[in-house]
Subunit: 388 residues, 2 copies
């Protein structure tokens, strides 16, 4: 039920197939982010149309609202959001450490204030796993301690140690829950008996020695069906991010799918696949789309620009999405100028399709065996402007 | 190109077929409102899915932003908004008379202040017709003088006289423009040679004598391919609105399609079809949808209500739309509670489908010849609460 096989490699880049309870995912893959059980502005039918294979949802947000018990009563997360394909839930770790306002971390877990009603709540490794079990995604993530991009060694070391100790607790809780399901003890719940896997998260800031140590200690707690690299794309320089992925690539077991959390922009995806990463998620396509920013083959553009007023061309002439095959830039600009919600949706749809197509193109290049040449040509054309 | 035939009648209710340059419309018909060249939150594909046959756009709004010249350069309104089926544009009369802020009416036209940039602008009958010609909808509306629901006789009389004088000027301008198109003088424009018809608007407040006089004087200026009843649903009591439609029904030529502007809520559509009306438009389904208000067979409900928190039922169990066949009320409530844009879209989609299906059901009842019995049964079930 949780298999991963490598279909082809080209340098460090890999094309793989990941088999999950709700379906098959081919990699490299970009996962659109459905923070609150919806990829903002898009319907499940839209997501199918743009080729989404797996969607990410946020444990912290769903715990706070509507609450995991509501989702469980309504049949679990897949049914709740009408997405019958694979789902991954993050653990809530990143969110509770990113929240403004009150937060208190101790060995037990994290006490924080809900951004919705201000109430004090506690998430522990055990709770994070229990909540995710109720949500019922195919892949659950371990509850980790995230530190900011510029964290010093003692802070990063401290978070690493806690992340490893918490991982043991996550594994124990997850095992107990799975055993309960296997013997059918889940009779008082609406949830069907199902399988869910738990992936650990490598922390350690941008310090190579800490990262590799964290990886080694995580591997001792396995076996695993996949592994994530966390705590990147949180403010550190891009070259540090790439260097960290490179260091890990040399030591990561080739048989495990590798998930680089919260990344990213098009150029980041290409650079990370070049360094052996298989899965990605990021809010950039939908957040950028709502701000009028669109990925195109030639870099990003902002549709609000007056230059597009009477532009008959599609948003990205190389794109096959509904937005690009139906509307002119002039119309899309009008929608943004007029504050029309359809504009937010059409740019979000395009941007998500853009990253999914980018992953598909990378997979094809890997299968042809010329990924490096493809990546060089892609970069030459894209000239990432960082606008989005 | 502008034919209307009656397919069946049941009492005063009529089922008809309207042939327009961009397609055929069966009546009774509800026209979704695309104020700014988009039916708020919905795509043209959504509109096709819910069975929309004709869409209304607002001349005033499109004149102010992006401007009719921009739309003409981008190929006309159909191409601009990617809606290749019939379109109707209102004249801007209703909007300029509803605007807050500066407004000066004289015989020449209406001077007003743009709600977008505050600039002073003038719309005259000639300009209203020219703008609509550039937009290129199948049906253009005459520029009329609208008065509030409670207007006294002298105000209503004054507006009536001006509406009739302005109508003559609209007709003359429209005839000149059409002749230009017919002999191909439109060579400097992107617009294809096309046919557009102009419909007059009956004013006269809620005073029966003024309404019938207005109708008689409009008929002298014909021939027409359709006729509208304006100045209703602007604050007058419902019974006055129904009585006004009834008075007109007796005198309206049966061969003309009749369009009741700005109406309405489900119960209004049923009452008006009972009184011989064929076409409707209203922002209620989309505006209400964005507020969480949904039409259902049992009346309106507001999805924000806490009672729906774990409700597994569809929004309206009798409905065939994507919203009702895909999601639970519990999920829809979550989307509204969480401020997710998908919620606005899914309720708008349902409400538009609701009114289109209502019109389809009325047509079927008329064709069966039992419209009165159907309407009584419908009302018994609906018990309009006026929430939406």
């Amino acid at each position: 039920m949780f298999e991963f096989r490598i279909d082809a490699t080209s340098g460090a880049a890999r094309a793989g197939t990941l088999i999950l309870p709700h379906g098959i995912v081919t990699t490299p893959v970009f996962m659109p982010v459905g923070t609150q059980a919806t990829v903002r502005t898009l319907s499940p039918a839209d997501l199918e149309t743009v080729g989404a294979q797996i969607v990410l949802a946020n444990t912290y947000h769903l715990h706070v609202r509507p609450g995991e018990d509501v989702i469980e009563q309504l049949g679990g997360l897949h049914k709740f959001m009408a997405w019958e394909r694979p789902l991954l839930t993050d653990s809530g770790g990143f969110q509770v450490f990113s929240l403004a306002g009150f937060r208190r971390v101790d060995e037990e877990g994290v006490e924080f204030q809900s951004h919705v009603d201000g109430s004090r709540r506690m998430i522990t490794p055990e709770r994070a796993v229990e909540i995710q079990a109720k949500l019922g995604a195919d892949i659950a993530m371990a509850f980790d301690h995230v530190v900011p991009g510029g964290a010093d060694e003692s802070t990063a070391r401290d978070a690493l140690e806690r992340t490893v100790r918490w991982l043991e607790r996550c594994v124990n809780t997850h095992r107990e829950l799975l055993e309960g399901w296997k013997v059918g003890r889940n009779e008082h719940s609406n949830l069907p008996t199902f399988q869910q896997t738990l992936w650990p998260i490598i922390q350690g800031g941008t310090l190579p020695a800490l990262r590799t140590e964290c990886l080694d200690r995580i591997m001792e707690l396995g076996p695993w069906t996949g592994i994530a690299i966390g705590g990147l794309s949180v403010g550190e320089p891009k070259d540090k991010m790439y260097a960290t992925v490179e260091v890990l690539e040399e030591r990561l077991p080739p048989t495990l799918p590798r998930y680089l959390m919260g990344v990213g922009f098009p150029a980041d995806l290409v650079a990370a696949v070049e360094r052996g990463v298989d899965l990605f998620d990021c809010v950039a396509p939908t957040r950028g789309g709502r701000n009028g920013s669109a990925f195109t083959a030639e870099g990003t553009l902002n549709i609000r620009n007056a230059a597009f007023r009477t532009d008959e061309a599609p948003l990205d002439p190389t794109c096959d999405c509904e937005t690009c095959t139906t509307y002119s830039r002039g119309y899309l600009r009008h929608l943004f100028a007029a504050g029309e919600l359809l504009g937010l949706r059409l740019l979000s749809l395009h941007n998500v399709r853009y990253l999914i197509r980018l992953a598909e193109d990378m997979r094809a290049a890997i299968q042809r065996g010329d990924f490096t040449a493809w990546a060089d040509e892609w970069r030459r054309r894209y000239q990432h402007t960082g606008v989005a």
